[in-house]
Symmetry: D2
Subunit: 341 residues, 4 copies
C-alpha cells in the first residue's frame, strides 16, 4: 500500500548492487519500495526476509502494470538495461538505471528520446558523482579555483573480478568517465586506447585510455584487474592549483595544491625553459560523508518532482557510452585514434 505523498518505486535486479538501491530507497523520506523483481529464488527469499511488506516477483510486467509504481530502478546486467528501461519508459515510469546506461550509444539515444517524449526522468546511477569528494572537486573546478584545467589523470587498478562479457574499460573506466564528464563538463573530441587480455579469447583486463578534448585539455584512465595493489588515485592539473584525489584513504581523500608553473620563455636560456615554480600551502578540505547513493536517490526524487534536473541524466550516460564505444574500437587497433563526432 503506497503511503500518501510518496513515490512508489519498483526495483529490478537484486544481485550485487540492487540491495543497496532497495535499502536506500526504503529508508528515504518520500519514497516507498513497492516491488522487487529478480528471477533467482534465493534472492527473492532474501528480499522477503529483509523487507516483509514488499512484493517480490520474477515477473517484470507486474512492476510495469502496477499503477502505484511511478519509478523503476534497473539494477540488472548491462546487456538487459536497454530492454528493461525502454519497457519502463513506455509504461510511463521514471527510470533510474545502473551504469553504463546501455551497451551502445544508439540505445542510449533511443532511451533519451523516449524519456523526452513522455516527459519522464531518465537518470543513470553514476554513483561517484554524488560522493563528497567528487562534489568538492566539481566545486573547485566550477569556481575557477584550479584555473584552466590542463589534465585529468586517473588510475583504478586492483586484483579484481575478471568479467566474462565486458572488458576492463566498461567495468572500471566507466567510473572515471562519469566523474570526468561531471567535473569537467567538456566535450571529448577523440580517444586513443590500448590494452591487452591475458586470458585467450576473453576481454581485455588491462587498458589505457587517452581522451582528447578541445584545446590542450587531456584525460587519461588506467584500469587493470590484475594489480597487486588497490589504487584509486586521480591527479587534476590546473593553471592555478592542482588536486590529488585518493579514494582509498579513509579520510583526507582530497588535497588541493597551490602549485604550478608559469610557463614563459626566458631569453637567457636558449635550451631550457626555467619554469617559474609556485609551491604554496596545500589544503585538505573537509568532505561531506553522506552515502553517495542516499544523496543520489534523494536527487532522483527531486527530479521526479520537477525540482531539479539530473546531474547524471541520459545525456551524461550517453557521453560515457560514446567514449567507451570509441575506446573499444581504438583498442582493437592498438591505439588508432577514433574521432567522436
Amino acid at each position: 500500500m503506497l503511503k500518501p505523498n510518496t513515490i512508489g518505486i519498483g526495483v529490478v535486479g537484486y544481485g550485487y548492487w540492487g540491495p543497496n538501491v532497495v535499502r536506500n530507497f526504503s529508508e528515504l523520506e518520500g519514497a516507498q519500495v513497492l516491488a522487487v523483481c529478480d528471477m533467482s529464488p534465493a534472492r527473492q527469499k532474501a528480499v522477503s526476509a529483509k523487507y516483509p511488506g514488499v512484493e517480490v516477483t520474477g515477473d517484470f510486467t507486474r512492476l510495469l502494470n502496477n499503477p502505484a509504481i511511478a519509478a523503476i530502478c534497473v539494477a540488472t546486467p548491462v546487456r538487459t538495461h536497454f530492454k528493461l528501461a525502454k519497457a519502463a519508459l513506455e509504461a510511463g515510469k521514471h527510470v533510474f538505471v545502473e551504469k553504463p546506461i546501455t551497451e551502445t550509444a544508439a540505445e542510449a539515444r533511443e532511451l533519451i528520446e523516449l524519456a523526452r517524449q513522455r516527459g519522464l526522468v531518465l537518470m543513470v546511477d553514476h554513483t561517484f558523482v554524488y560522493t563528497g569528494a567528487v562534489r568538492k572537486i566539481k566545486e573547485l573546478v566550477t569556481s575557477g579555483e584550479l584555473g584552466e584545467i590542463y589534465y585529468y589523470d586517473s588510475v583504478r587498478v586492483n586484483l579484481g573480478l575478471f568479467q566474462h562479457d565486458v572488458d576492463v574499460l566498461w567495468d572500471l573506466a566507466i567510473h572515471d568517465l562519469a566523474i570526468m564528464e561531471y567535473v569537467l563538463g567538456r566535450e571529448p573530441r577523440a580517444v586513443s586506447a590500448t590494452g591487452i587480455s591475458h586470458l585467450p579469447g576473453k576481454p581485455e583486463n588491462i587498458a589505457y585510455l587517452t581522451i582528447f578534448f578541445e584545446g590542450s585539455l587531456i584525460g587519461h584512465v588506467h584500469v587493470n584487474w590484475l594489480s597487486p595493489l588497490k589504487i584509486r588515485s586521480t591527479l587534476i592539473g590546473g593553471s592555478k592549483k592542482m588536486v590529488f584525489y585518493d579514494d582509498t584513504q579513509p579520510s583526507e581523500k582530497i588535497k588541493v595544491y597551490d602549485k604550478g608553473a608559469s610557463l614563459s620563455d626566458t631569453p637567457e636560456s636558449k635550451h631550457q625553459l626555467m619554469v617559474s615554480y609556485r609551491t604554496g600551502d596545500a589544503w585538505i578540505p573537509k568532505l561531506e560523508t553522506t552515502e553517495a547513493l542516499t544523496v543520489e536517490a534523494r536527487h532522483f526524487l527531486d527530479c521526479i518532482a520537477g525540482k531539479a534536473s539530473p546531474l547524471s541524466g541520459g545525456e551524461a550516460g550517453l557521453r560515457t557510452v560514446r567514449i567507451l564505444e570509441a575506446a573499444t574500437q581504438s583498442m582493437k587497433q592498438r591505439g588508432q585514434p577514433v574521432e567522436l563526432t
Copy 2:
C-alpha cells in the same frame, strides 16, 4: 701523469650530471680522470678548485689527442652526443655516453658499428640499471620467480623543469625504457603514444606511451612535468608474483607480492569468470645501496678490460631510442600505432 695500471679518463661536459661522472671516476680504483672539457669558464673554475691535478680545457681535441686518455665520458646535451662520441671512437677511445645515446636511431647504429669495427667499448649511462632496486627486479624476472611477465607499468611525474628542445618522453620516459629494456630483455613490436603541450609551440609536457611486445606482454609509461606530487612507481605483473617498485621511498623500495589470479573458465558461471585469487605473503627484499654510478663506472672499466660486456651497451641505447623515435611519431598522430621493424 697517469698512475700505473689505471685507465685514463677524459670527461666532456660538466653541467648537471658531469660532476657526478667526474667524482665517481676520480674515486674509482683503476681509473684516473686526466682531463675535463667544458666551454663555460665558471664550470672550468669549479673543476680546478675541486680537482687540482686535472687538466681543464675548453678544447675537446685536447682530450682526443691525449694518448694517456683511453676512455671518454660524454656528459653534454643530447644533440651533441653523436658528434662527440663519434670523434672519440674515431680517436680510438672507449666511450661512456649519457642517455639517450643519440637523437636518432640511425646515429646510434653508426656509433655501434664504429665501436664494433674498432673493437672499442660503447656504453650508455642507463644509471637506473645499476641501482640495487632494478638489479633485484632483474633477478626476480630472470630467475622465473615472477613467472611469465604480463605487464610493466610505470609512472614518473613531478613538478619538473620544462625542457626547451626535447619532450617529456625523451627527458623522463627514457629512464623507464632503459629499465624495461634491461629487466624484460624483450623486443618491442609497436608503440602507441599520446601527449599534450601546455605551452604553445613547445614540446609535450605530459605523455602516455604504450609498448606492445610479442605475446601478451604490454608496457606503459606515464610521464608528466606538471604534477603536484612526485611519483616514481612501477608495477610489474607476472603469472606467479607481482612487484611494486616505489623509488621515492628511502627504504622498502620494492615489495614482492605472492598474489595472482588463476584465470580459468568456470562452467557454473556463464557471465563472469571467478578468478581464483591467490594472496600470500609479501616480501621486502634488502637492496644493495652502493651508488649506482659507482657500480656502473666499475662495470665500464671491467668492459674495457674485457672482463664483462656492457649491460647497457650501444644496442641497449639504440633500442630505447627506436622506441622514443616511434613514440614521437605516434604522439604527433594522437596514438596511431607505429611498428618497430
Copy 3:
C-alpha cells in the same frame, strides 16, 4: 526451542558491542541465542526485529532461570560485570564477559574462584587476541623467530569518545594489555603511569603507561582520546627480528624486519659502541581474515565442550585488571612506580 546438540546462549546488554555478540553466536554452528536481556525498550525492539525467534526481556533472572541456557554473555557497562557474571556462575552458567573483566582485581579473583569451584568456563572478551594479526605475532614470539623480546611499545590514539566514568587507560589501554598479556606471556613486576585530564574533575583523557617485566623486557602504552589522527601502531623489538603492527592498514598490517643490533663493546672505540647493524629483508605475512569475534565465539564453545582452555580466561582478565589498578594508582602520583606483587 533449543536445537539438538547446540549450546543455548543468553546475552545481557545490547548496546555498543552486544549486537556483535548476538550476531556471532547466532550464526555459529553449535550455538543458539535463546534470550537477550536489555532494559531499553528501543533496544529490545531492535532485537525482536532482527531475531524474531529470540526471547527479549528486561529481566535478567529469566536468563538465569532458563535451564536451556548454558552460557551467558555479559555485554553491559563494566561496573555491572561482576554482579551479572557472579549471578550467572552461581546459576551454573558458563560466562563470556566483556573486557575489562571487572572493576577490581578482587572481584576478578572472586569470579575465577567461583568458576573453578563450579567447573564452569569463564572467558573474557579480549577480542584482539583472536585477530589474525595478533595470532601471527604470538606465533612469531612463541616460535623464537623474534629472539629474546626487548620491548613492546603501543600507541592507540584518536579523536574519541570521552568516557564519563573510566579513564583512557581502562577504555583503550585494556586492548594493548590484553594483547601484551597473550603475546608475551610474561608476568609484569611494576608499573609507572602518567596522564592528564583536560576536563576538570573528569577521568584522564591522555595517559602513558610503562610496564616493567623481569629482566630487561619493557612495555609501554600511549593512549589519547584527543588526537587529530587515528593511530594504532605497535613496535615489538626482539634480539633477532622486530615487528611493526599497524592496525589501521586495511592490508599489510604486520611487517617483520630482519633487523637488529649486536651489542658488543669494541675495544677500539672507547666512547661509542658501534652496534653491528643487521638489516636484511622484511616480510609481510598473510593474515587470517576471519572476524575475530567469530573465532573467539567458536573457541568459547570448544572450551565449554572441554576441547580447549580459554586463551583469554579469567586469569588473563585478572592480570590486565591488576595492571590497570596499579596504573591508576601510579597515575594519581605522577608516575610513582607501583609494584605488582
Copy 4:
C-alpha cells in the same frame, strides 16, 4: 687574514657535526672561519684539503689567543663542553656550543653567569629551532591559532648508534626538549621517566619521559635506539586546532587539523560525555627550506652585533639540561616523579 667587517670564527671539534658548522660559517656573509682545532691528524688533514686558507691546529689555546677570533664554536663531545666554553668566555670570545650545553645544570649556570658578566653571547646549537617546520609551529602556537595547548607528544626512534657514555635521553630527547622549550615557552614543573638498557652496565637505549607543566599541559617524549623503523613524529593538541609534524617526510612535514572536542557534560547521558566533535579542513603550510644551521649561524652573528638576542641562548640550554638531569634521576627510580624547582 680577517676580511674587513667580518667576525672571525674559531671552531673546536671536526667530528660528526663540526664539518657542518665550519661549512656554514665559511659560506656566511659577515663571518670568516680563521682556525679549526681538532686533535685527530686525519681530521686536520680533511680541514686543510677543503679549506686551504684556514689555520688547522691541535692546540685550543691558539684559538683563545688569536685576537682576530671573536667567537668560538664548540663541536666536541658533551663532556668537554663546559671546560672549552668556559675557557672561550674567559678569553672574551662569544660562544656557540653544541647541545646539550653541558653535562650538568650547575655548569650551564656558571657559563650563563660568565657570559652575562663579560657581555658575551652564549648560544646553544638547538638546530631544530631554526628549521622551517619548528618555526611554523612556534608561529601557530604564539598566534593563538591552536588555542590553549593541551599536550606535546613526540616519538624519535630508529636503529641508531648506541652511545657509550650518554643514555638515549641525552642523545635523542634533547632535540624534543629543545623544540618544546622554544615552541611552548612554558616552565616544566616535574618529570617522570622510565627506560631500560639492553646491554648490561650500559646507558638506557629506550626511554619514556613525561613532563608536567603548570595547568593541564603535558609533554611526552619516546626515544629508542633499537627500532626497526625511523619515526620522527610529533602531535600537538590545542583547544582550537592540532598539529601533526612528521619530520621524515621530504615535504608536507606539517599538517594543521581544524579538529577538536568541546568537552561539556550532557545532562542526558549520565555515564558518557558525548564530545561535540569538530572536524573541519586540514591545512599543509608551506615551509621555509633554508638549511637550519644557516639560519642559526646568521642569527648568531646578529646576536653578536646586538641586533637580536638568542632564540636558543644559555638559559634555553639550561632548561633542557635541568629536565635531562631530573629525567635521569627519575629513570633510575622507575618513574618516581622529580620536581623541577
